[in-house]
Amino acid sequence: MRALAIATTCGLLFGLGLTVSAMIDPAKVLGFLDIAGDWDPSLILVMAGAIPVAALGYMFRRQDKATTQTAIDRRLLLGATLFGIGWGLVGYCPGPALASLSFGDAKTLLFVAAMLVGMAAFEVWNRRG
């Protein structure tokens, strides 16, 4: 019960953060990614606000270094590239896409459905190869 209460609280805080910062709006995110256009640096400040607060948490409770992956391999770089292309095409990454579901926008639903198919496709591909 305690775990569920913590997780729900964290989900609410996360969603509230995305809402207040307007990162749930793909147009706002594309405004950041469009460095050659009318550039909107807001996303950098979202990260600048989030990273130090999160870092306090990681300092408070130590991580198990032995189980932490450190290699910068092809999977990491290729995965980040594919994700970046998809993010740039629409302006949605997984958090904002899910948080926007309650707006009932058809294209948001379509994006989330395609994202789940992409995740399932990875599982199938990963098990084979």
Partner: protein, 138 residues
């Protein structure tokens, strides 16, 4: 620079950071949305469902409380939305994280992998937007 909203961005960011800090201290979990979502088929789906339910409910509660939010505006065609969704789904799993897991939590943990991943996905996204908005590809 006309749409720049620094105060809202910093405040919202701090809330996201607080969420990540509490999830780590309280449950020992990383607040990476793609990882939480993909793990829904694992036996420990309870906390994942609770987190995602809270995250999906938050914008709704914010609006009910009188907060102003912009409706999502997606200018691209349905086919581009589908292609984007597929790439985000597959890519985040292959690369082991997204904007939250790598970009916020990973950088806060000073993970070399996450710093590299964040640099790569930001660059790839910026090149993509340059191609679609300024060269007319896609």
């Amino acid at each position: 620079m006309s749409h720049f909203t620094p105060a809202h961005a910093l405040t919202g960011g701090a809330l996201i950071g607080l969420s990540a800090a509490i999830l780590w201290v309280g449950l020992g979990r990383i607040a990476g949305i793609s990882g939480i979502l993909a793990g829904l088929r694992m036996p420990d789906r309870g906390w994942r469902m609770a987190f995602l339910a809270g995250m999906i409910a938050a914008p709704l509660l914010y609006r009910l409380a009188g907060g102003a939010t912009a409706d999502p505006t997606i200018a691209t065609s349905a086919w581009v939305v589908i292609a984007g969704g597929l790439l985000v789904g597959f890519g985040t799993r292959l690369g082991g994280g997204c904007t939250s897991g790598h970009g916020v939590c990973g950088i806060a943990r000073l993970s070399r992998r996450s710093i590299a991943a964040t640099a790569v996905f930001m660059a790839a996204a910026m090149v993509t937007v340059y191609c679609t908005h300024h060269i007319g590809i896609g």
